[in-house]
């Protein structure tokens, strides 16, 4: 057991120091990383500044942000340990640790990279471990449900309000190509109509996508 603790501590310390060193190095070499990771980047864009404040938007998964690996690994370890040992903890300790985990979960969620499934299950677990079964637990789970539903609806609506013009153009071309191919009496290159159509549409997408 002591060796395990020692190992975990050593890994954490090494990871922390190395990733700190790396981040420092990246900061000095790549100003784009700073820009992405800086607080300024998380502020609303000018055109959305008047929007009502909502939960902080998780960063785009595709964003190339330096990853706080040690923090993420440590959180996973702490959360696992909490759920494994919660039943043996005092109510006070359980509540205290659950609050810390919730805070860290929210922070990591806002930093991006956690799935909605992960955060939902984790929050359900935290409620289950800290609120006695009954009306109060039901109410908290209900509130959680509403929170996720509202957030999903908000983001889906936001996405739908911003259609991709390039995709719109492709759909027009797609329809034209389908009509053309369906009207052809003979298909070139000895291909089946299905295969020829597939290739034509792929070619159209390639032409419209920056590669």
């Amino acid at each position: 057991m002591r060796r395990r603790v020692f190992t975990v501590a050593a890994v954490m310390l090494s990871a922390a120091v190395l990733s700190w060193l790396l981040r420092s190095e990246e900061s000095s070499q790549d100003s784009r990383s700073v820009a992405v990771d800086s607080p300024a980047d998380t502020s609303p864009r000018p055109e959305t500044r008047s929007d009502p404040p909502a939960r902080a938007e998780p960063k785009n998964f595709a964003a190339r942000t330096p990853v706080d690996v040690d923090t993420r690994a440590q959180f996973n370890e702490q959360a696992s340990a909490f759920f494994a040992n919660a039943a043996q903890m005092t109510a006070e300790d359980r509540l205290h640790e659950a609050r810390q985990l919730e805070q860290e979960l929210t922070r990591l969620e806002q930093a991006g990279g956690l799935s909605a499934g992960e955060t939902l299950l984790m929050r359900v677990g935290l409620i289950r471990e800290t609120v006695p079964a009954g009306a109060q637990q039901d109410a908290q789970l209900q509130a959680l449900q509403e929170r996720y539903r509202a957030e999903t609806q908000r983001r889906v609506a936001t996405a739908q309000a911003r259609p991709d013009p390039q995709f719109g153009y492709y759909k027009v071309r797609e329809s034209e190509i389908v009509n053309e191919v369906m009207a052809m009496e003979t298909i070139p290159d000895g291909l089946s109509r299905d295969e020829y159509l597939r290739r034509r549409l792929q070619s159209a997408r390639e032409q419209l996508t920056p590669q």
Partner: protein, 471 residues
């Protein structure tokens, strides 16, 4: 902070880092399994993420269903050092990948620094084969993501039950499985063809009011493009689990032969959760093989006979394209050293509805819901009984068939948690089966439950109700 100060502090920390690394060298890893990196290598990986060591070969880029890479100038969005976070990986059109509606296909990767082992999770979400089902028309069971995959898909709860599975989270409050520590690949579903199709369908609106729907049943090529990317960007897995529920289960199963061949893990595992491919020989008696009509429909709609099935038969000598259910035996024989598993509920009312509801007039026109469900259950039982029997004869392909769970129409045993998939009469839990597949030796566990009485006698599960209401 002043750069000189930072440099000074870093110089102070460097010996600490070296000491820590030295400590790692003398301490054994806390827990390790085949495929894990040493503690020292893990630290190195943080600094220098391991790259691919099983790249696509020139030969693999040729022939039917080639493994095609993104163009070198294409920004796929992947950051090799982005550990512990879901990263969106975009696939260029030239890879052959595309969503059903013609939008860009993308998938998601969550790396860890400490192991080569990898889980490939294929998302579930129905199926479609005509205008109504593919266009998302209400009142008809259709397919997931008819509008494509947003970049931030993983942080949206709606609409995928698959996102809430112990297989795709790092920490689960009450269900643990060793793959939670592995590299994760989440393959989203947007083609309505259980990852098997290869056809651009043009579906006319039966009402004549709307333009025809152009739908890319492109699952087979999407899967190939994902495999190509994985080979070109990540280390070869030592252990690899391919899994998913519903359409994702079917997709994992249908694609396993080629994914396993090309990813080339040392040890391969498959868990097909609730995506059965039942026996349905061409022309067979419907009373004995009730999935025959479904199979006839999808073969045509998804272009299976033209490309995907001959391609599969080429890899699996025992596979008979005229009876898709032969895939179980063929896969078992082709990969005798792999551990394979199939699981679904006897009372599944979702995949079964897709399988029979629109093909049998007596079900479609049933006088009430209870009658409809009884008819569906009866046909599902015929198919399930045969599959159960078949798997008992395949040592490396286990079958686990509990009766009922009050979640998602008893569809998918591995979503939300691994609880309540128990077979009380044998004192088995679903986790026994999963453990048998992933950690067992000898024959993979086979088990089937005969009565749903104990399952239905359980008190309501508030958490299931909550999650179900969100999905």
């Amino acid at each position: 902070m002043d750069r000189q100060v930072i440099t000074f502090i870093r110089s102070l920390f460097q010996p600490v880092a070296l000491l820590s690394v030295a400590a790692l060298l003398v301490a054994p890893p806390a827990q390790s399994e085949e495929g894990d990196y040493s503690a020292w290598q893990t630290v190195v990986n943080l600094v220098s993420p391991p790259g691919p060591d099983n790249r696509v070969t020139a030969a693999q880029r040729q022939g039917p269903y080639p493994l095609l890479a993104n163009p070198s100038s294409f920004d796929d969005g992947f950051s090799p050092g982005g550990y512990y976070q879901w990263q969106t990986v975009k696939l260029a059109p030239s890879t052959g990948a595309v969503c059903g509606n013609g939008s860009q296909y993308k998938f998601f990767v969550n790396r860890v620094p400490n192991t080569r082992n990898t889980i490939i999770y294929m998302e579930g979400g129905g199926a479609c084969w005509d205008y109504g089902s593919c266009s998302g028309q209400s009142g008809i069971r259709g397919a997931r993501n008819p509008n494509g995959i947003p970049d931030d898909y993983m942080s949206l709860l709606n609409p995928s039950t698959s996102l809430v599975s112990p297989f795709v989270v790092r920490v689960h409050p009450w269900t643990s499985v060793k793959t939670q520590n592995w590299n994760m690949v989440y393959v989203p579903y947007c083609t309505g063809d259980v990852y098997s199709g290869d056809k651009v369908a043009v579906y006319s609106d039966p009402s004549g009011q709307n333009a025809p729907l152009i739908w890319h049943h492109n699952g087979a090529r999407n899967t190939r493009a994902v495999v190509a990317w994985l080979k070109d960007h990540l280390p070869r897995p030592t252990q690899m689990l391919s899994t998913g529920c519903s359409a994702g289960g079917t997709g994992s199963f249908n694609s396993y032969a080629h994914v396993r061949r090309d990813m080339a893990p040392t040890r391969g595992f498959l868990i097909n959760d609730s995506g059965p491919t039942f026996d349905a020989p061409a022309g067979a008696d419907l009373a004995l093989y009730p999935s025959r009509l479904l199979h006839t429909q999808i073969r045509s709609a998804w272009g299976l006979d033209q490309g995907p099935l001959p391609y599969l038969a080429g890899e699996l000598p025992g596979f008979d394209g005229n009876d898709l259910g032969t895939l179980y035996g063929a896969l078992s024989a082709r990969r005798p050293g792999d551990r394979l598993g199939h699981t679904h509920f006897w009372q599944d009312l979702n995949y079964s509805a897709y399988s029979y509801e629109r093909f049998f007039p007596e079900i479609a026109n049933a006088p009430n819901q209870a009658t409809k469900e009884a008819l569906i259950h009866a046909k599902w039982a015929v198919d399930t009984a045969r599959l159960n029997q078949k798997l008992q004869a395949l040592p490396n392909f286990g079958g686990y068939f509990p009766q009922y769970r009050a979640l998602n129409e008893s569809h998918c045993t591995t979503i939300v948690d691994f609880n309540n998939g128990d077979i009380q009469e044998r004192s088995l839990q679903l986790s026994h089966f999963i453990n048998s597949v992933l950690n067992g030796q000898g024959a993979v566990l086979d088990a089937s439950e005969t009565s749903d009485a104990a399952d239905r006698a359980k008190p309501p599960n508030l958490i299931y109700q909550l999650i179900e209401s969100l999905l």
